[in-house]
């Protein structure tokens, strides 16, 4: 029995490792690419650890030359290529020191058993190219000020940020924070009203909320776009915030949760003369912290990761949230994979951190409502 259990545990671990490896490998590959030189991203066979070819600066010409391993007089030596001849190459020895400076001509390929292999193999060292991150960060410049606005007589010149990515980050942080807080606040107020208060039309209104839950977002997309355009809000933060801040989902979820909060405490508070506002503020909200945190984490991740809506309503680079910013970064840098991967890592890290911090609530939230993204 024990042996069978051991065996099944072993198989489980094997499967978990295989699955976990599959999950992890693309992410590792992303980080790995983000630390490589452009040439190293194209190396075959693929290398998980970023390596870079050693170079040697010719003191005479000041030129930087790639260094190769070669066999010179039966010894392993580091050489640089000087000139090519048909089928042969002229190399100069760099190391070891007693052979240094010698020039000799080598066949490009040599026989090894039955195969021909290249005579020269690159000398590579593990090397992380951290400045890919800085390069990606600085790659997009902002030519217009950030946060400049003009409302009637009030004019604000904005801040002069150099790097577009900084603006993307700030935009995402601002928009996501406002949406998350606003959504939790308005949803909890409405949820409280639906769960605890009596007023004419309550059930009809609630049915209205429920009915819209299954309406695909794409249905409301066009009318909301037109509404925002009529209000002159296209390409503003409001266009990103307003349509998602009043969540029917959140209202529904919190109403269900509030119904499960025991009424005794509330009744006691009411008897002590508390109004509905105090009951909401001091009894129901503190008791609902897990549900609020779950909703908050959901909304945070949805808003942070949302792409389609920003794509539709935002045009100005300085107002773009991070997802759209990354997409517009991809346009001109589509083939510079080392920079693209560095940018992707920078975009992913904050969400992963938030997820790791709020994981408990997040999983609870899924179980609480059977909600899906």
């Amino acid at each position: 029995m024990l042996r069978r259990k051991r065996l099944s545990d072993f198989i489980s671990y094997l499967l978990l490792l295989a699955g976990g490896g599959t999950m992890l490998l693309p992410l590792l590959w992303m980080v790995s690419t983000s630390l490589k030189t452009p040439e190293a991203t194209m190396s075959y066979p693929p290398e998980l650890l970023p390596r870079r070819q050693e170079t040697w600066v010719d003191p005479a010409t000041g030129r930087e030359l790639p260094v190769f391993w070669a066999s010179v007089q039966g010894r392993r030596a580091k050489v640089v290529k000087l000139r090519f001849y048909p089928g042969r190459v002229l190399v100069r020895v760099v190391e070891p020191s007693d052979l240094a400076g010698q020039q000799l001509s080598l066949a490009l390929r040599q026989r090894e058993g039955t195969r021909f292999v290249p005579t020269l193999t690159p000398v590579k060292h593990i090397s992380f190219r951290w400045h890919n991150y800085a390069d990606a960060w600085h790659a997009m410049r902002l030519d217009r000020p950030w946060m400049a606005f003009e409302i009637g007589p009030i004019k604000f010149g904005g801040f002069h940020l150099r790097d577009a990515f900084l603006a993307f980050y700030l935009n995402s942080v601002i928009v996501t924070t406002v949406v998350t807080l606003g959504c939790v606040l308005t949803s909890s107020l409405a949820g409280y009203a639906f769960a605890r208060l009596h007023f004419p039309g309550r059930d009809v209104l609630f049915l209205g909320y429920l009915a819209t839950l299954m309406v695909p977002h794409v249905v409301t997309m066009i009318p909301v776009f037109i509404l925002l355009r009529t209000l002159g809000l296209i390409d503003t933060y409001s266009a990103l915030i307003l349509p998602v801040m009043f969540s029917a989902y959140g209202t529904f979820m919190l109403r269900q949760f509030f119904l499960s909060v025991p009424r005794d405490l509330e009744d006691a508070a009411r008897l002590d003369g508390c109004g509905h506002w105090s009951v909401y503020r001091h009894v129901v909200m503190p008791l609902s912290r897990p549900a609020l945190a779950a909703l908050g984490t959901f909304i945070f991740l949805w808003t942070w990761n949302s792409f389609m809506w920003p794509l539709i309503v935002m045009n100005s680079t300085e107002k773009m949230p991070l997802m759209l910013g990354l997409y517009s970064f991809m346009g001109p840098h589509g083939a510079e994979w080392h920079l693209l991967m560095a940018a992707s890592v920078m975009v992913m890290v904050p969400v992963i951190v938030v997820f790791l911090l709020g994981q408990r609530y997040f999983v609870q939230g899924i179980m609480l409502t059977g909600m899906k993204g």
Partner: protein, 333 residues
């Protein structure tokens, strides 16, 4: 979602303090206070959800290109729907042809991409079964499997574009190392682009929401059932087939329906960032078609009609879910 979730709860008995019915004025004040709680959300809900749904319905009967002012919108009745769903007889060949053959092709694409649903569900279930075992370090794996789900959508799409790169991508490099001489061109090959999207979707989704729902389902199965089965000498397969699977049937059904519903609305980021709907429209989904019709070609009315068709499909599936929920669960036993 079962119907108990959504039917409004019967109003409960009010607490003693308010049970004695207050007079007219006090009651009015109570109503006003209730509306004050509701108002912030309600205004936003009406403006950005309910009225837009109605507006979209109206718009789907009109022809309007969004660049012109409102009053140039033309009322065209059912024309948009006929254009999308109808057929006509081709004059030359005399055969029936779709008015908009792209619509049907994109519907087929959407359905094709849903091949990922059953595969993903099977893998999610397998993952949940593994993650439910009392093993050391299993919490680490739970987190690890979930991470792709929260990873930023666009970054994931960019990453997979790189993985699918025909020359230098990890996938084709790996295939070449395994001796495949001519690995597929993935995203630039009409035959491989959809499977490529599905594969990416599996990576993102297998350890995600569905897996957590399955885990919750597994944890709700009473332990006695397994003990009884064990006493009767049932092996792991018998226990899986006759205890776990039937006990999970409601979860499975819920996941299936919600996955299909969200399948009709998914893959936007992947499609837009990785293929742009190509090559040759082979990855354009219904959702992407609606987006393009509205915001690239500015045919707002036609796009709204397409969106209503999508809505109708989702609506029917939801209804089916309500009506069939119980019975399908029984079938699975």
């Amino acid at each position: 979602m079962t119907d108990t979730d959504v039917s409004p709860q019967p109003s409960e008995v009010p607490p003693a303090a308010v049970r004695s019915r207050p007079g007219g004025r006090a009651r009015l004040a109570g109503y006003l206070r209730a509306y004050a709680f509701l108002l912030p959300n309600l205004v936003g809900f009406l403006a950005f959800t309910l009225l837009p749904v109605l507006a979209a319905m109206l718009l789907s009967f009109a022809r309007w290109d969004a660049i012109r002012p409102w009053d140039e919108a033309q009322w065209v009745g059912m024309a948009n729907y006929v254009d999308a769903l109808g057929f006509h007889r081709d004059v030359a060949s005399g055969r029936l042809v779709a008015n908009d053959d792209r619509f049907w092709y994109y519907l087929y694409n959407t359905a094709f991409l849903m091949l990922g649903v059953p595969i993903g569900m099977a893998l999610s279930l397998l993952t949940a079964l593994l993650l439910n075992r009392p093993l050391r370090g299993v919490v680490f794996f739970r987190t690890l499997f979930f991470i792709p789900t929260v990873c930023s959508s666009v970054a994931v799409a960019v990453l997979w574009r790189w993985l699918y790169n025909p020359e230098y991508g990890l996938i084709n490099q790996g295939l070449r190392m395994m001796g495949v001489e001519n690995p597929p061109y993935w995203l630039s090959d009409p035959a491989w682009a959809k499977p490529a999207l599905i594969l990416m979707g599996l990576w993102v989704g297998v350890g995600g929401y569905n897996c957590v729902l399955y885990l919750a389902g597994l944890q709700n199965i009473p332990g006695e059932l397994y003990e009884v089965a064990r006493l009767d000498g049932a092996g792991w397969w018998v226990r899986l087939r006759y205890v776990t699977w039937p006990q999970l049937a409601p979860t499975t059904f819920f996941i299936l329906v919600t996955s299909i519903i969200s399948g009709f609305q998914g893959y936007f980021v992947g499609v837009h960032v990785m293929t742009g709907g190509g090559p040759a429209g082979s990855t354009t989904t219904l959702l992407y078609y609606i987006y393009q019709t509205a915001f690239v070609y500015h045919s707002m009315g036609y796009s709204a009609a397409l969106a209503m068709v999508l809505f109708a499909i989702v609506f029917l599936l939801t209804l089916l879910n309500w009506k069939m929920g119980k019975r399908s669960v029984e079938i699975m036993y």
